[in-house]
Symmetry: C2
Subunit: 296 residues, 2 copies
């Protein structure tokens, strides 16, 4: 049976120091997306705050909120009000001393369909995430919604073909990455261009390797380091909607934007018939993917 | 200790019905590559013959040759004569009824450094490889040469992130793909463009995910189906040299060409410091990569 095309929206926006304003920007984006006909709306990673991982500060754990905290409540209300499925992202307080970087999948009736706790955690200059986020312990499990089975992953996960494959093997119909990535101001233009192009390319590759659409919603804007010990960040936007052969269907620019496109989820089946990679995986010979390094 | 840049050459050429002519074209290419200063020379997949997998014909097993057959002997002689390491590719006769699609790695002194038997075997209209080639049984093991540790894979392998990762985890310093891929004449221009771009993208992604250079050497030319039961093939060339951030260093066109470029193998270490993906792989959570499908 042929499915109707799925209209999806990526709400690419900037964040400032006030969580109230940030949540309002997210809700405004959801409203605009719904008005444009979107049924699935995706927000950037950690959209309720500035990207606080620029430096280490135990005080910033105050930003964390439980799964039923203010961001979740506001997203559920918006999902219900506008009748859309929403992918949000929070700094999740799970217990004292235990926090995660967690994506929320909220049904159009406001119920929580499921969560995904970021599995791969970066730690680089300006991206001190290992200080804040405990790596996810739930594995790579897609989340069923009224719109289909969604393979929700988060940011750094997008560099790992393993994560995309695990979701595809579990029947994900689309891969979804809320993300927060930007230019390091000290890099020259060539390096900045290479990094942005690598980021687009690795996501396109997940679509190709797995024969399914991939979307990534990034934040935008300049966020100054307020500590003097971290780094400024210039988030690069460029939220992407990619088809199952890796073709770019639509792409945002450097500024705030609601990007809307239609996805033909039936096309994955056709693409996998001409590129039947799942048929030919050598599962008898991949054991060492479970090792850190292979010493020969 | 800083290594000198490695000059590599991809000999992109066409094949006709006469194996003698094809071998001569390969040897001419090796000579031109060496004259241009290359120390590592890579030939396309199955360069001694037309791409015979366009259709099923038990008679075509006559094309298979042992590891010390005429192609190997001629490549060894050329490697020694021109003082270069050569990556060749043969239809390997291992035993009656047992053949492989095998890459040969030949040292500059003419000795066989090692072989790689293609692990992932395609089978699609016009690419009936499962009829001819038994899947490799040696796994993903790079081959040590005087020029470094080479992660040699073959054609269809290039669509599988698992293969690239296995080689990177085993210390491969460069991924090398002899290949034979082309346009299906019945596809429209948009589909042909998407396929070529997907092919470039997936290979760039292996460089990005693993922080190492990737090269692919493809054949060119139109090869008519001689059976009436198979398909014509228009091989698309576009042999690629890719740096460790996925950047395209050089790329051939649709015609025969010897593509030469210098690779800075030291750059991989620097790239992996800013993108330390090997550090963060969730080897505790990848078990299901060894399954065919995950049923939830």
């Amino acid at each position: 049976m042929k499915q109707a095309p799925l209209s999806i929206a990526l709400v690419q926006h900037a964040m400032g120091p006030d969580p109230y304003d940030n949540r309002q920007a997210s809700i405004d984006g959801i409203e605009r997306a719904a008005a444009a006909g979107a049924r699935l709306v995706i927000l950037p990673e950690l959209h309720a705050s500035e990207y606080f991982c620029k430096y280490h500060d135990p005080g910033l754990f105050d930003l964390a909120e439980p799964l039923d905290g203010p961001t979740r409540r506001q997203l559920s209300e918006a999902a219900r009000q506008f009748g859309v499925v929403v992918i949000g992202s929070i700094f999740e307080r799970r217990a004292p001393g235990l926090a995660h970087n967690t994506a929320l999948v909220i049904e159009a009736d406001g119920e929580l369909a499921g969560i995904y706790r970021k599995m791969h955690i970066p730690d680089d200059p300006g991206y001190n995430e290992k200080f804040y986020f405990t790596p996810g312990d739930q594995g790579f499990v897609p989340i069923d919604t009224m719109l289909g089975r969604l393979g929700v992953l988060v940011c750094w996960d997008q560099w790992f073909p393993e994560a995309a494959r695990m979701m595809a093997l579990a029947g994900a119909q689309i891969l979804i990455y809320p993300t927060a990535i930007g230019f390091a101001p000290e890099d020259d233009e060539d390096e900045q261009r290479r990094q942005l192009d690598a980021w687009r390319t690795i996501q396109r590759s997940h679509a190709i390797a797995n024969g399914l659409p991939v979307v990534a919603c990034n934040r935008v804007g300049f966020e100054a380091d307020r500590s003097g010990a971290g780094r400024d960040a210039q988030f690069w936007g460029h939220s992407l909607i990619i088809g199952p052969q890796g073709e770019i269907i639509d792409e945002a620019g450097l500024d705030a934007e609601v990007l809307v496109a239609e996805l033909d989820l039936d096309r994955s089946d056709q693409v996998r018939r001409i590129w039947p990679f799942l048929r030919d995986r050598r599962i008898d010979a991949y054991q060492d993917l479970l090792t850190r390094y292979r010493h020969f």
